[in-house]
């Protein structure tokens, strides 16, 4: 077990010393993580390994938060953290516990999948009659956490996934995988080939057009336009978060759920990063906001939100409400039918950047390349373009949702300086009258 030797009962009793009021939220967060990286060719050191462990203790009282975090599991680390969160010596009905954690299980050193990926990718490209210089960096991420509160001890949560970054002369690509197999490499090779063929294509003409988004582009759009827009802390920047409930944010074709319990193997969760059970959360049902992404602080503050969406990139970072695994309910048609139905317009298979301004409600999604749609079929490639619009304006113009969902990594979310992997299962989308900029 990752936290063998942790006396959870003693820790729980010790944390209860910090509770003075019925609404106080107290917890201890224990974390072990490992990251192995095989860098791109020619970048010493040749293999890289980070192993971390540590804990954080938190007290949330009304609108005030006191938190202490430290590296490692020193014997007095928990005791010291509890004392410092209390900001005075807590009344000691029983002694504060020492930590006696056993070392984490040794990692297997079979890094073959990481090492082989660049050559597998090169082979896949060669099969497609394409070759170009590229730098491939692969990573394996593992993380184990356990959250203990005064009353509840959450189960140990384990995450394991892979990420890859491919840098070419014209673009940088990233992807997340639950596992690295040749099957997973093929879609990445397809994306690289598409981008390669569009590398010198001129950008499309600015203006209003019909836009068809592929799976990956739709995942980024929903992450920025739905998930971030419906996070309680984003909403709180401009007013009471509960005011968003019931608002018609998108076309009735758009239904979006956040369900960390249904995420791909390796990143599936039972509880969030504050030990609360995750829930299947309908963010949009038929285009209407039904629930908000909330952690305990916003749940306690507003009283109308389910907690269970608290995330943090590591123990030193502040907890905040974030999505983990977005699911868009599929429609009927396949991608070819959607493109055919669009008639004239643009097809964007992927997006590489998104940004939401919570104060204005404007968001931006950037597409590194795309294809012109002429008479219902894909035509010549086009270069980089972007859409900048108010969330509700753009999502209300979704006129079709594809019937074929695909699950995978949506990318890295960097909100608030915390880098978190996000996952999604999305279908292609058609947006009419989208304002395209270059």
């Amino acid at each position: 077990m990752p936290f063998t030797g942790l006396d959870t009962a003693a820790a729980s009793r010790a944390l209860s010393l910090l509770v003075e009021h019925s609404g106080d939220v107290v917890d201890a967060f224990f974390e072990r993580s490992e990251l192995i990286e095989v860098p791109a060719e020619g970048e010493p050191p040749g293999i890289r390994c980070w192993r971390e462990s540590g804990l954080a203790v938190r007290l949330l009282r009304d609108r005030e938060i006191w938190a202490v975090s430290c590296d490692g599991f020193a014997r007095d680390a928990l005791r010291d953290a509890i004392r410092r969160v209390a900001r005075s010596y807590p009344r000691t009905a029983f002694p504060l516990p020492d930590l006696d954690l056993k070392a984490g299980s040794r990692v297997d050193e079979d890094l073959g999948a990481l090492v082989r990926l660049p050559s597998q990718l090169a082979t896949s490209l060669r099969v497609r009659r394409v070759a170009f210089p590229m730098r491939v960096k692969t990573r394996r991420h593992r993380r184990q956490i356990q959250v203990i509160g005064p009353r509840v001890v959450a189960p140990v949560e384990e995450e394991s996934y892979y990420s890859v970054v491919v840098e070419t002369q014209w673009q940088s690509f990233g992807d997340l995988f639950g596992n690295v197999t040749p099957i997973h490499v093929e879609p990445l090779a397809d994306r690289l080939v598409e981008a390669f063929r569009a590398r010198e294509a001129p950008p499309p003409t600015e203006g209003v057009t019909t836009l068809v988004l592929g799976h990956h582009a739709a995942a980024v759009l929903l992450h920025e336009g739905v998930a971030h827009a419906l996070e309680a802390d984003t909403l709180a920047a401009t007013g009471p978060p509960e005011a968003a409930l019931g608002i018609e944010l998108a076309s009735s074709l758009v239904s979006v759920v956040d369900d960390p319990g249904a995420a791909p193997d390796g990143v599936k969760r039972q509880t969030d990063d504050e030990g609360m059970p995750v829930v299947r959360r309908w963010l949009l049902r038929d285009g209407v906001v039904e629930q908000i992404l909330a952690d305990r602080s916003y749940s306690e503050r507003c009283g109308r939100f389910e907690p269970g969406a608290g995330r943090r990139s590591d123990r030193h970072q502040r907890l905040g409400p974030r999505s983990t695994y977005l699911e868009m309910l599929p429609g009927r048609d396949n991608l070819e039918s959607l493109i055919q139905g669009a008639g004239e317009g643009l097809y964007a298979p992927e997006a590489d950047r998104g940004l939401l301004d919570p104060r204005t409600g404007f968001f931006l999604v950037s597409f590194p390349y795309g294809r012109r749609i002429r008479r219902g079929v894909l035509a010549e490639p086009v270069g980089r373009f972007l859409i900048r619009a108010r969330v509700a304006d753009l999502l209300s113009r979704v006129i079709a949702v594809g019937g074929e969902s695909a699950a995978g990594g949506a990318g890295w979310c960097a909100k608030g300086g915390q880098r978190l992997p996000v996952w999604a299962s999305t279908a292609p989308l058609v947006i009419e009258a989208a304002e395209v900029e270059v």
């Binding site: 192995i36 293999i47 609108r63 975090s69 900001r87």
Partner: protein
């Protein structure tokens, strides 16, 4: 204790067959006080970690962990490429600043700082609101030992404050750094926010105009940060050659001198050595408008060239990488900023950037969204907002006519600094040119 543990790991890896070894240990403490979205947060951190680079002529590894460096680590098998480490350099005359020992700011003081800023802001500009305040303060001690004989330690301390304020429809952000949080002055910060809010709310921009420009330190620093691709790294000189088109050579009269100095006295990141243990010092990158050389690591210096450390590792987790530390436009200690403004017959005083500067590296075009004031006969006549300051990189190198003595640094990855600058020739526009 950390040094002993570092040497123990170093010896162990050498005995295990890896002749080139470097062990880096870092220990730090920090506090964060934040007022955000209605929550007040006080967080304290204790961090202790280490990193090892080891290898030989054929392969290498990087490993990092928390706590003290330990030989009880499941080392990955070295792979890939050879690892080269620097030899110890001559010791520099660096002296540790005296204010490292002062305690970090406490919860009550931090809240009083935020309250003071909010109170003054409301007094200066009734209705204005401090919507976000985030104060980070920390100190750290580092140790670096290597198989080539490097054995150094140093300490660093810094406080970083980020503020956001709103008034009517306008919103401004400000970021400032000091050695210690107690050096932040609430009244000065509140006035800065109030000034910016008024300018943004009431300012206008001409469609297109020319004149003389005084760039406040915040504007000069952000422009300099946007030029990092031609100032740092191996490809920088080639990029500079393309955008400067020969204009970067021998431009007499320009006061545009750019320096990087990791050991800058009073600099917030000052340290005797860089992240690989190479002594740091003053390196001139651009001299009076003439491009000299980019920041270049010791591995690529030519024989006879002075070697100054430029490898950054902001945390023990980071792979050491080339970068600037205190990158700044040189100031003129004899020239008060007021003299630059007073000397402008007709022009603009640009006090802040309102978005990211854009550089088109294919054409050398530089566009910076700015706000400030219209100037006439050395006096501010009207606020300026929604404007774009436009020039070319080569034009900027040529056209800096004066630099004041008010050098100030902003935390922009590295500490990037500029004094007030007098620039003639660029344009001001209401929208960026295509």
């Amino acid at each position: 204790l950390t040094r002993d543990a570092c040497f123990e790991v170093l010896d162990s890896l050498r005995d295990g067959g890896l002749p080139v070894v470097e062990v880096y240990g870092k220990e730090g403490r920090g506090r964060r006080h934040a007022l955000e979205a209605g929550f007040i947060q006080t967080q304290s951190r204790r961090e202790q970690g280490w990193a090892v680079r080891a290898g030989d002529r054929h392969c290498s590894l990087f490993a990092a962990g928390v706590g003290l460096p330990t030989t009880d680590y499941a080392w990955p098998n070295p792979d890939g490429y050879a690892l080269n480490l620097p030899e110890p350099g001559p010791s520099s005359r660096w002296q540790e600043p005296a204010d490292f020992e002062a305690p970090l700011i406490g919860e009550v003081e931090a809240r009083e700082l935020f309250a003071g800023i909010a109170r003054t802001l409301d007094r200066e500009l009734p209705g204005a609101r401090l919507s976000l305040a985030c104060l980070d303060e920390g100190s750290a001690e580092s140790v670096l030992v290597s198989s080539t004989g490097i054995d150094v330690d140093w300490r660093q301390r810094m406080a970083y404050l980020r503020l956001e304020a709103e008034w009517r429809g306008a919103r401004v952000e400000a970021e400032r750094s000091e050695r210690a949080a107690r050096l932040f002055h609430p009244v000065a910060l509140a006035r800065l926010l109030a000034d910016r809010l008024v300018v943004l709310e009431d300012g206008t921009s001409p469609d297109k105009d020319r004149g003389e420009f005084v760039l406040a330190p915040a504007v000069g620093a952000r422009i300099l940060a946007s030029l990092e691709p031609i100032l740092i790294g191996e490809g920088a000189a080639e990029r500079a050659r393309r955008v400067l088109e020969g204009a970067g050579r021998g431009t007499s009269g320009s006061k545009f001198t750019v320096v990087d100095d990791g050991a800058l006295a009073q600099g917030l990141l000052t340290a005797p050595v860089d992240g690989e243990g190479v002594p740091q010092g003053r390196r001139v990158l651009v001299e009076r408008g003439s491009y000299r050389a980019p920041i270049r690591e010791w591995r690529f210096t030519k024989p006879g060239e002075p070697i100054h450390g430029c490898i950054r590792r902001s945390s023990w987790r980071d792979i050491p990488r080339i970068g600037a530390s205190h990158l700044f436009i040189d100031s003129d200690p004899e020239c008060p900023a007021g003299d630059l403004i007073a000397g402008v017959t007709r022009g603009y005083y640009l006090v802040e950037v309102t978005g990211q500067p854009r550089v088109d590296w294919s054409t050398g075009r530089l566009s910076v969204p700015v706000c400030g004031f219209h100037l006439a006969r050395g006096q501010a006549k009207a606020p300026l907002a929604g404007a774009w300051f436009e020039t070319t990189v080569s034009g900027l190198f040529r056209s800096v006519q004066g630099a004041a003595r008010d050098l100030a640094f902003l935390p922009l990855g590295a500490m990037v600094g500029s004094p007030s600058l007098l620039v003639s020739g660029p344009e001001i526009r209401s929208s960026p040119s295509r």
